[in-house]
Amino acid sequence: MRVLAPLFGSAAALVLGTNLVLAAGADQSAEKPYTVTDGKVDKKTFNGWRRYTESCMRCHGPDGAGSSYAPSLVDSAKHMTQDEFNDIVVNGRTNVNAASENVMPPFGEVEDVVSYLDDIWAYLQARADGVIGRGRPPRIGD
């Protein structure tokens, strides 16, 4: 797990950096980690959908909608901060008892997840806010 700290650290730094740029650049959209214009998403949000589908979909269902296997992240994303989200993704979470068998594996060492935590978060926030729907989101410029 020691390996994770620097990785996680740089990811967190990235978040900060992005927010600063946005805050300096624009008005309300500064609050949002994604950009959606006419139903089309920016590169970052699109990549979030793609990485979500690669590493999260098998348990959390297509498009964050939840499955018989793991909860809907469209709902969870409404009730957590990005720090909490990052923490769970990096370190995993286990909830195994008589009534449930939920095991979220740690993704701290998975390059394709840790490198894109911001993107995945942006995608889930866009889903949670209802600004994009199910399926592959169209890209700005597509």
């Binding site: 139903g39 959908w49 793609r50 589908t53 690669e54 590493s55 979909m57 098998r58 348990c59 269902g61 297509p62 498009d63 909608a65 939840g66 499955s67 018989s68 296997y69 809907s72 286990t94 195994v96 068998e101 939920n102 095991v103 979220m104 594996p105 993704f107 060492e109 998975v110 390059e111 394709d112 994009i132 729907g133 199910r134 399926g135 592959r136 989101p137």
Partner: protein, 594 residues
């Protein structure tokens, strides 16, 4: 624990029972329609019963007679075994096994509850399913999720032996049902979505010692090929697998072996298929990626491959080749043939000569299949349509409208064969997809997929599944019953001219073998992805099936298949499966009223 006397008795028994006797016992048991001694019905994977008390005239009077909750929620694939007066069922993770006393209305004789590390749960690609136990030589054998193979005393449930077949930390898991052949038990491997190199392994039934292991991909001494191993009648030559991969990519190349196995005692060959090459991004693994997506015929004593046939070279769609191989002696184009019939995920139904591996028939079993125009009968290669080639369209390009979807025109849910009609009864998916490959990095024990997909019904249709009757000689659909959802349950054909299957909404259905006309339906407590069986007890015929929605169907569909962005969601038939059923493992046993 066990007394020395017990061990002595056991080893003495093993000595007597060694050699081919487990085989003979199983052949005898599988010929007795009063029992259901193998997950697949018989070695030929027929899923057919000679019983005819329940027939097309009285099937309408069927009713559920008793039920049993397994206490486990996840997807219940596979089905019960019945040997003598005892029924054996296995659950998804944690892989509990129950022996139920049929003399006492299903009272529990014993149960086995393994303690497995729960970190195996998230490395199971498509739910924590288990496709059931095998019986042989007084033992019940299960492949646990954590890759432990366990043999239990069929009378007491005590562990006779247990052996570790893999490492879940690398993404290796086990989901399929073992097959007992001669003095060995043959087991598989799952984990194609985690870059796990697939193999089949034979353990000695007596003590769990390893007899041989044959990989799907790699050097000849690991895939157990020799100078006589052929494809379409020609020797494959040296390094036939390695030559079709770039660099070391084969080491995380997949080709997992999680489907059903069959066996021909006369030819002394076992048959099975291998799964997808890893990753799903074809651009990252140039070459034919042999021997993923391949039918293998191997000698069960040595593991040596006699012949192979690769259905989908250089897979670009996740069309695993693991579906069951049904062995039948039938007329193919007028010639009596020792045939092998296989409904591949890629949408083609193949009929081969199972002795030589010669390709005889390859036809689409869903007219909507569009990724290839046909299979070249000389080379066996599919003629791929460029528009639907995710390799040709490239990384980061969304290739649209490919039929079938990654879950195939049919997944592992096994078909049934009736020797009475010579037809096969096939549960199918009727689903298409958009597929966008992208670059991924390999991390041991982590998903290694590299493609996104969206799934939807074929254009102009509103059903996601069909239950069909198939003529393996002509390569044609005889009748087809549309189903609102994929049919994800194993079929059962009977001499009573009735075919049984389950649906994702939870219906157990009986249909007329001749016409497909529905004779009976009953809504069980949860969606059915298990396989139907039949047996007698006290001279009366019963039908048994496990409910418990899940599996890939549960993961992909419980959240709803459709994209609410493109308007498809407006059509009623595509409503989320979650509106029809919920999780929960329950066995339901049906019979006729007294």
């Amino acid at each position: 624990m066990k007394s020395p006397r017990f061990w002595l008795a056991l080893s003495a028994f093993a000595l007597v029972a060694g050699g081919a006797s487990a085989n003979d016992e199983l052949i005898k048991l599988s010929k007795d329609p009063n029992q259901w001694a193998m997950p697949t019905g018989n070695y030929a994977n027929w899923r057919y019963s000679e019983l005819n008390q329940i027939n097309k005239d009285n099937a309408k009077n069927l009713r559920p007679l008793w039920t049993f909750s397994t206490g486990v929620l996840r997807g219940h694939e596979g089905g019960p075994l019945v040997i003598g007066n005892v029924m054996y069922i296995a659950t998804p993770f944690p892989n509990n096994v129950f022996a139920l006393d049929l003399n006492k209305n299903g009272q529990i004789l014993w149960k086995y509850e393994p303690k497995q590390d729960p970190t195996v749960i998230p490395v199971m690609c498509c739910d924590t399913v288990n496709r059931g136990v095998a019986y042989g030589d007084g033992k019940i054998i299960i492949e646990q999720a954590d890759t432990t193979v366990v043999a239990l005393d069929a009378k007491t449930g005590q562990v006779a032996w247990s052996v570790k077949n893999g490492d879940p930390k690398k993404g290796e898991t086990m989901t399929n049902a073992p097959m007992v052949v001669k003095d060995k038990v043959i087991v598989g491997m799952s984990g194609g979505e985690f870059g796990v190199p697939g193999h089949v392994t034979a353990y000695n039934l007596k003590d769990g010692s390893k007899a041989w292991r044959a990989y799907s991909v790699g050097p000849d001494d690991q895939i157990l090929f020799d100078a006589n191993t052929t494809e379409l009648g020609k020797p494959v030559g040296k390094d036939s697998s390695l030559k079709t991969w770039q660099g070391d990519e084969w080491k995380v190349g997949g080709g997992d072996t999680w489907g059903w196995y069959s066996y021909d005692p006369q030819l002394n060959l076992i048959y099975y298929g291998s799964g997808n090459p890893s990753t799903w991004n074809p651009a990252q693994r140039p070459g034919d990626n042999k021997w993923s997506m391949t039918i293998f015929a191997r000698n069960p004593d040595t593991g040596i491959a006699k012949w192979v046939f690769q259905m989908t070279p250089h897979d670009e769609w996740d069309y695993d080749g693991v579906n069951e191989m049904i062995l039948a002696d039938i007329n193919v184009k007028g010639q009596p043939t020792k045939a092998l019939v296989h409904f591949d995920r890629n949408g083609f139904a193949y009929t081969l000569n199972r002795e030589t591996g010669a390709l005889l028939v390859a036809e689409k079993y869903d007219p909507k299949v569009n990724w290839a125009t046909h299979v070249d009968m000389q080379t066996g290669r599919p003629e791929v349509v460029k528009q639907y080639s995710t390799q040709a369209q490239g990384e980061d390009h969304n290739t649209k409208g490919i039929c079938p979807a990654a879950l195939g025109s049919k997944d592992q849910q096994p078909a049934a064969f009736s020797p009475k009609t010579g037809l096969l009864y096939v549960p199918t998916n009727h689903v298409c997809m958009d597929y966008e490959p992208f670059k991924v990095s390999y991390t041991a024990g982590q998903p290694y997929v590299g493609a996104t997909l969206s799934m939807f019904p074929p254009q102009g249709d509103n059903n996601l599944g069909n239950f069909i009757a198939w003529d393996p000689s002509a390569g044609k659909i005889v009748w087809s019953d549309p189903e609102p959802f994929s049919v994800w349950s194993g079929a059962l054909a009977t001499a009573g001219d009735v075919v049984f299957y389950g649906t994702l909404e939870g219906y157990l259905k009986a249909v007329d073998m001749q016409s497909g006309k529905e004779l009976y339906r009953f809504k069980t407590p949860s969606g059915i992805i298990g396989n139907v069986n039949t047996y007698t007890h006290g001279g009366k015929q019963y039908i048994a099936v496990l409910s418990g929605v899940g599996g890939w169907a549960g993961i992909g569909m419980a959240a709803g298949l459709t994209k609410d962005t493109d308007g498809l969601g407006a059509v009623g038939a595509y409503k989320a499966l979650a509106n029809y059923t919920q999780l929960g493992g329950v066995l339901t046993v049906f019979g006729l009223p007294e």
